[in-house]
Structures are given as C-alpha cells and as structure tokens.
C-alpha cells in the first residue's frame, strides 16, 4: 500500500472520531507545549545571564570563595576572606592594573531630609571601580586610603537615585542607618550614567545600588599574615593592564591564593578560593541553568509520556472496534504489513498532530513566562524542530504494539466479529 493511501485512510478514521482523536492528541499537545515552554524559559535565562558577562570586559579576573567545586552559584554565596593585605599584595603583581574589593554594609534605611527608603544593604568599594565608567552627574568619591578621615561621600546608580522622590542628585545629603542603629551622614557625589552591573558577580539586572568608600565597610578580621585588624571582602575584581595578559594574571593570582594569601587561611575547609575569568564564570552559570532546565524539562517529558500512553490506549480500543474492518481488508488482500502500516500511520498522525499544535502553544507559554520574568525572549529553534520529531517518535512508539496486534488479527475471527 502506498504512503499517500495509508495517510488518506488513517486520516479518514481519525475524522470518524473527532472528539476522541482531539482528546488523545491533547496529551501530546500538553507534553510538547510544556517542554517547549520550559526549554524556552531556560534558553532565555541563559542568554540573558551569559549576555551580562559577555558585556563585561575581558580583562577581569574575579576572586570568590564559594562552597566546594560543585559549579554552584558563583558569587552569591561568596564568603568574606580577602583581606586588605591580599588586595595590596595582588595589586603589586606583574600585569595587574588595579584591584577592586567589594563588600556589602548591612543597613536598615537611607533617608534624605524627611524621606526614608528602606534598604538592607549598600556596597563598599574603592574609586578604582569607576575608572572606566561614565557618570550622568558628578563623579567617584575620594580615595579612602592613606589614613585620612573617611570621606563622607556616596555614588549611586540611576535606579537608586530614582528611589527618592524627585531623584537623588549631586550635593544631596543622605543619612544611612547601619547595623546597630549607627548613623552615617554622606553627600551624594556622583550619579552613574546607567544601571548596568559594574561587576557581574554582584548580581544581574538593574538593581538600585549605593556605593560607599571601603573605609565605611564594617566587616573586619585579624589578618593571619600581619596580625592586624583589617577589612575583609567577599569579592575582589582584579583588572589586568592588558586583556592579553588576563590568563597569566589569573594563574599568578590563583597561585598566590592557593599558597600565601590570607584568604587561603581564612576560608572554611570546604570552601574553594578561586580566581575566575569571565569565561569560567559563564561556563559555570551555563551549567547551573542547564541543569535546572533539564530538571524542569524532565518533568515535562513525563507529561509527554502520559500522552504517549494515551495514544497507545486509544489505538488499542480502535483496533478492537475495527476488528471487522481489519478482517475485511485482509479478505480483500491486505497483508499484515499493510494493516500494521495503516494503524501506525494513524498513531503517527495523532502524535505529529499533537506536536504541531503543541509547538505554538509552548512558544506562547514560553513568551508569557519570559515576559513575566522580564527577560528578552530567546527561542530555542532546535527544540521547535525536535518537537515535531518527538511527536513522530511518540506516535510510532505508542502505536507500535496496537498496530502489531491489529496486524495479527485472524481474518476468519475478525469477519465473524460483531
């Protein structure tokens, strides 16, 4: 029997049970739609996260202390282990342009005059962070080193400025309530031109940020090397003088971290103190997102499996109902293979039909999820194609046994069947 005719006959029998066929295909529609939705969401998250890193210059090496080497979240859990001593030592290495430590100061609120904004943290860093950054207004705060009085100055991102009615602007006096109800009064000296994260390790997206000099930082430890009380930071960015030397700088810094650094001695035993380039971090994040996507997609695949069982079930019912028709076809010359082909094509049509309907629904679902998460949409086109293939495979696999049992029907019994 030629393919066109078996398609025609299979389509005819599906049309004979429209509602039943629709409900059967619905299982596949839902399965495929779920897979496409989750895969789209995963791809979009990945594209967004990786995009953030690709924007950041190639000459950076990020120092973090994270639990184990499990490829987990690279920065969020970083522990404060890098002392001022470490920062100073690394800054003298060959090929290093500057070293920017970074930490958070716990706060409860910021206020300007009578207006108060609740914030749980502000960022402490050095003016070196702002060297290649444009300001909308004003500029970086003064350098805190050299033992002078701590400059009462603050730089803010545009979204942070926007938290206050009528925006913060240069010259505004802001009072910061720190841990233990201590109050620090600072003057806004600069508003950045845009919100892009200056350091991808600090998180993604355009979160409001307030930057203070490191002298305002309040996490201190006794340096094992010098024996003095020093600031200790969870994150340090090393900027190489020349992008081509980034790898060499990374190696040098990693060697130092592994051997004589304060960080090596301060880090808890299970922690890994590492120097990573953009590439390393992108790879790690991709791993995390991939694993999450695989997990969720796995759940969606289960619903696809349920859909496949639905097809197998309905095909078995269909074979039984059409026993007499099978007998007729065999009496007029259909071979077992013809009958097998006919039922297989029918299951295949249900599978592919479900997939074809499921793809646009899945894409729509992915779009909704991505829009809700405020990410740009990235369509995994490979998966859209694969969905049709999956529908095909699901149809064949679930139709195989019913079709085989149809092919084996004894024509004499079948013709007597009422």
């Amino acid at each position: 029997m030629d393919a066109a005719e078996s398609l025609r006959l299979a389509a005819r029998s599906i049309r004979g049970h429209k509602l039943r066929a629709a409900l059967t295909a619905l299982g596949i529609v839902i399965g495929i739609a779920a897979v496409i939705t989750f895969v789209t969401l995963g791809a979009s998250v990945k594209a967004e996260v990786v995009g953030q890193f690709d924007d950041s210059p190639a000459n950076r090496v990020f120092l973090v202390a994270t639990p184990g080497d499990d490829g987990g979240p690279p920065a969020a859990l970083s522990q404060p282990v890098f002392t001022e001593y470490d920062v100073g030592r690394i800054g003298e290495f060959e090929g290093v342009d500057r070293v920017v430590p970074r930490g958070t100061i716990a706060t409860s609120a910021l206020s300007r005059g009578g207006e108060t904004v609740a914030r749980d943290q502000v960022t402490a860093t050095t003016p070196a962070l702002f060297e290649s950054v444009t300001f909308r207004e004003g500029g970086a705060f003064a350098d805190a080193s050299s033992g002078e009085a701590c400059p009462a100055e603050m730089a803010v991102t545009p979204s942070a400025a926007a938290l206050f009615p009528g925006n913060l602007s240069v010259g505004d006096r802001v009072s910061i309530t720190q841990r233990g109800n201590r109050t620090r009064n600072v003057t806004v000296v600069g508003v950045l031109a845009d919100d892009a994260g200056l350091n991808p390790l600090a998180g993604f997206g355009s979160r409001p940020r307030f930057y203070l000099p490191t002298c305002a930082y309040d996490t201190v430890v006794t340096s094992p090397t010098t024996g003095t009380r020093q600031n200790v930071y969870p994150q340090v960015t090393v900027i190489a003088a020349n992008p081509g030397d980034t790898a060499a700088v990374q190696t040098r810094v990693q060697d130092y971290l592994d051997t004589e650094s304060d960080a090596a001695q301060l880090a808890p035993g299970s922690y890994e103190v590492s120097a990573r380039t953009n590439e390393d971090i992108v790879e790690r994040i991709e791993n995390v997102v991939d694993r999450l996507t695989q997990f969720v997609t796995g759940i969606a695949v289960i619903s696809l499996l349920v859909g496949a069982i639905g097809i197998a079930n309905i095909m078995l019912v269909s074979v039984r109902e059409r026993t007499k028709e099978i007998g007729i076809m065999k009496a007029v010359g259909a071979t077992n293979r013809d009958v097998l082909q006919l039922f297989l094509v029918e299951a295949l049509l249900l599978g592919v039909g479900g997939a074809v309907l499921g793809v646009p629904i899945g894409v729509a679902g992915g779009w909704v999820a991505v829009t809700y998460a405020e990410l740009p949409l990235t369509l995994p086109l490979v998966w859209v194609g694969a969905a049709i293939g999956i529908g095909l495979v699901v149809g064949v696999v679930s139709g195989l046994y019913p079709a085989w049992s149809a092919a084996r029907v004894d024509p004499i019994d079948a013709l007597r069947y009422e």
Binding site: M1, D2, A4, E5, L9, R12, S13, R15, G16, K324, E325, G327, I328, M329, K330, A331, V332, G333, A334, T335, N336, R337, D338, P411, I412, L415
Partner: protein, 240 residues
C-alpha cells in the same frame, strides 16, 4: 500445480483430499477428505446444514484458512502451504468475496469500497477509482459512487460488495449466503446479477442453505458433517 493436464488451463479451484481439523479437546473434522474441482467459468453451489463444513470450505478456497491435510489450488497455484504474505496476495488477486453481511468499510464511499482491493495491489489511485466506477456502472449503481454504505439500501450494499469482488478480475468469486440479509425481491435481483456474471465468464462458488437459490447454479455440492454427500447437476441448458 496439481494434476498435469497437458495444454488445458488449470481449473479455477481444485481441492485434493482436503481435510481441516480443529482441536478443541478432541479433534473435530470440519472437512474430511474432500476433493472437488471447479472449472473455469463454472457456477457451483454448496449446500448443507450449519456445521456441515460450508464455511470451512469457503475459507480454504479463499485462502483465509489452510488445510490440515491435502492440497488446495487456486488458478493452478497450490495455496495450502503458502506463507501468510503470499496468501494475502492470492486473496487480493485471485479471490473475490461476497459476504452475507456485505462487509463494506463504513467510512469509505461506494467507489472507494470497490477500489479497496486494488489499494493493496499498488494500483494507482486514478486507475483504481476508474475501474471501480466502471464496475459500479455494471451493477447498476453508477449514480451512487459517492455514497457511504449507510446511505445505501441492503440490496445496493450487496451490489457494491459484488462490484468489489470483481474489481481485481479474480479467478473465483466466493459468495457466502449473498441473499441472506435482503428481502426476497432484492435477493432475486442479486441472484440475477450473479447469473449475469456467470454468463460473462466468471467462476462462482455460492454457499447457501436455500434450495431455490442453489438451483441457480450449474451443479450443487451437498455437504454433511464435513464430507461431500453428493453432487447434483442442475442442468438448465441441457449440457450433461
């Protein structure tokens, strides 16, 4: 090939010492040592009470069943030892079935039903529908080609089934109680149609339990308990 008659064409159907035994606890002889030859162009009726082996005989000739012993030849080919696939081919090419319950495909139109055997013989769609329309014309249903079985009367359905049986130009047409499910008048018209087919040279094997119907054939094979009880010549044209 059974028998080696020199130049003559082999008979349409030849049964040589055919037995068919079913084992249900103890062996049951549905057909016991039956030999029968159907010449080309002949019209034979098989009569007998239920359980006499009529259906078994029909199934054996129609390649739906295989004999336990003996040989069945259709158009000169020994079909008793053929593989499943080969038997399907013989059914598709050499045998045309007409059933008591019509057995049309409910979702196919009259012409598609008639063309169905050609689907399995890889005949192109245009050609098979053309042949189907020709045959529907011949059985007087030229104006019903697009009707589904549910839109046709019992007599019309049986005529569609007859057209289907003829579409592959088979060596033998097997008719199993073709008038069993229609009224007398319609039955008469169907028997007339079979007469026409016979006159046109088709070989027909008719199974019935009605003497009046059997009398339309050239000869009547009477079966009882799986054995041939006797063969009567019904000679209308005065040839034997």
């Amino acid at each position: 090939m059974t028998g080696d008659v020199a130049s003559a064409e082999p008979p349409a159907v030849e049964l040589d010492a055919v037995s068919r035994t079913y084992t249900r606890g103890e062996p049951v002889y549905a057909l016991d040592d039956v030999s029968l030859s159907l010449a080309r162009g002949s019209y034979t009726a098989v009569m007998g009470p239920s359980g006499s082996g009529k259906s078994t005989l029909l199934n054996l000739v129609g390649c739906l069943d295989t004999p336990t012993a003996g040989t069945v030849s259709v158009a000169g080919e020994d079909v008793s030892t053929l593989a499943t696939r080969q038997r399907a081919r013989v059914r598709g090419q050499e045998v045309g079935f007409v059933f008591q319950t019509f057995n049309l495909m409910p979702r196919l139109t009259a012409e598609e039903n008639v063309a169905l055997p050609l689907v399995f013989q890889e005949v192109a769609r245009e050609e098979r529908l053309e042949r189907a329309r020709d045959l529907l014309d011949r059985v007087g249903l030229g104006d019903r080609t697009d009707h589904r079985p549910s839109e046709l009367s019992g007599g019309q359905r049986q005529r569609v089934a007859i057209a289907r049986a003829l579409v592959t130009d088979p060596a033998i047409v097997l008719a199993d109680e073709p008038t069993g499910n229609v009224d007398t008048e319609t039955g008469e018209r169907i028997m007339g149609l079979l007469d026409d087919l016979h006159a046109a040279g088709n070989t027909i094997l008719l199974v019935t339990h009605q003497r009046a119907i059997a009398d339309r054939a050239e000869r009547i094979v009477r079966l009882r308990d799986g054995e041939i009880e006797g063969i009567d010549q019904v000679d209308v044209e005065g040839a034997a």
